[in-house]
Symmetry: C2
Subunit: 301 residues, 2 copies
């Protein structure tokens, strides 16, 4: 990934180093690598694909953080906190270009196609979010949103890897299904951690989404249990910001069954993901994918 | 091109309609279509490729105008003049995704590869421009810059079209050469029109580039003829903005041989482009490409 800025402006190399040094869990490329290895893809192509997926993810984060004005990501300063908006927009574009180039190096037209469709899905989801007025979203809206935001790329990671193997026809749909289900679970857990985590570990204020008027699954479940909570209704109606209200809501949600119910839903997604894996060849990669699916709901950050 | 926003958020359709209604000369897709038709590509694939090229171009313009804070393009309001920066960034990203999808529909991995490399070249050029301090650029810097900005996509339009024909091996390099040469000429003429045009027709202030500290060929040629012009030296040294200085410089450049010398250079690029065409099959498309090359230096806007 780092070598992608060679022959280009030194500032791009510096930006790429900065972005990639932040680590991150690299769950998406791990999914791709495990499917590819399990199903017999060439290692070289798989590494190229895995890098393409992480670069696509990174590019969307760069533009996302700029749009949200986020100052930290994974505990390190975002690009937009240090660079001008112009440089940040262009660095994101450059990383898109490198993701596309890496994808083309898989030499699979179908991989290229699902890549470009996934980017369209992600961006369309963000635009929908931008133009949707705040307030109570339906569960359906929520699931659409987290599909676009997260599950679509997990799905593509698994599907694209399978496309590069000789058993593509046999496993493509199941791989895609696995990616979709664990991607949905992954985002639900992110949304739970937004309420249960501490600001120190998560790196942003608790209930950050709700503060921005964005309703996620724990809040949806809380409203179903307590439809008349005056604090929650005030937030949903866009009342003037009041930290006392938020503190009470965060405590109420934590103390309600809403968190557990959200975990249960995440676990249902994981279970469906594991079912999709069942017919896959017994292998250490299959075991690793099973553990990875379990990790997604057990992780604390 | 307009159908690319179907199934996505309505605001994206509105944005795409707005962008595409502005017209523009569509020179890049015309180059692709003429090469494809001349050399026997399937019409359906050529239309897909031509749309991909125009979409890639449009996406870079959307981000460009945002970065420059431009309010008009081709006489109509830019997206960023009406939308928030967030929506503008995302719309550009969406158009990149559609360009990539259209490129993948050509089913040529090589087309995908040169597409992604061209995007990297364009963006790298913009980043270089962003991080380069103002002042006198060398001719070499200038030619690098206009290659990245303009000629690279003309080159790709011609090359990618040829890749979709049965005579790819025979004509690829010559087509690429033609695209490069007329793309360089096209940008030189744009840079001449920046000095010779009227604000009304060009849609932006005369000598807009120079006002932003960007030295183009007419200014480079002027400095070679009059190395000690105090007004020009003041601008190059980044003196305080003074409209009187700019008025004098614009008049001086117009009255000097710098404009004619720039036209001569553009014509040399066109001549080399025409040479690259010589061995191509005699056809109405070849004649149209010759006329298009001529139009590039003769156009007044």
């Amino acid at each position: 990934m780092r070598s992608q800025a060679v022959d280009h402006h030194p500032e791009l190399g510096a930006a790429l180093d900065h972005l990639l040094s932040s680590g991150g869990k690299r769950v998406r490329p791990a999914v791709a690598l495990l499917f590819g290895e399990m199903l017999g893809a060439s290692q070289e192509k798989m590494i190229t694909l895995a890098a393409a997926i992480e670069m696509l993810h990174t590019a969307t984060l760069v533009h996302d953080d700029l749009i949200d004005g986020a100052l930290l990501r994974r505990g390190i300063p975002t690009l937009n906190s240090r660079w001008t908006p112009a440089a940040t927009v262009l660095t994101g574009d450059f990383i898109f270009a490198q993701a596309a180039r890496l994808a083309s190096e898989t030499e699979s037209v179908e991989v290229m196609r699902i890549f470009s469709e996934t980017l369209a899905t992600i961006v369309n989801g963000e635009i929908t979010q931008l133009f949707t007025s705040r307030g109570l979203a339906s569960r359906e809206d929520y699931f659409h949103r987290i599909y676009a935001k997260t599950a679509s790329l997990f799905q593509t990671a698994a599907e694209a890897a399978t496309l590069l193997t000789p058993v593509n026809e046999k496993y493509r749909n199941k791989a895609r299904r696995f990616g979709y289900e664990i991607g949905m679970a992954f985002q639900i857990v992110d949304d739970i951690l937004d309420f249960t985590g501490e600001q120190v570990t998560v790196g942003k204020p608790v209930a950050n989404d709700l503060r921005q008027g964005l309703i996620t699954l724990p809040a949806l479940n809380y409203v179903e249990i307590h439809p008349n909570d005056p604090d929650m209704l005030a937030v949903l109606n866009g009342s003037r910001y009041d930290e006392g209200v938020f503190s009470r809501i965060i405590r109420s949600i934590r103390d309600s069954g809403a968190i557990q119910k959200s975990f249960d839903e995440a676990n249902q997604f994981v279970d469906r993901g594991l079912q999709a894996l069942e017919s896959m060849p017994e292998s250490i990669e299959k075991e690793a994918l099973e553990r990875l699916a379990g990790y997604i709901v057990q992780r604390s950050i």
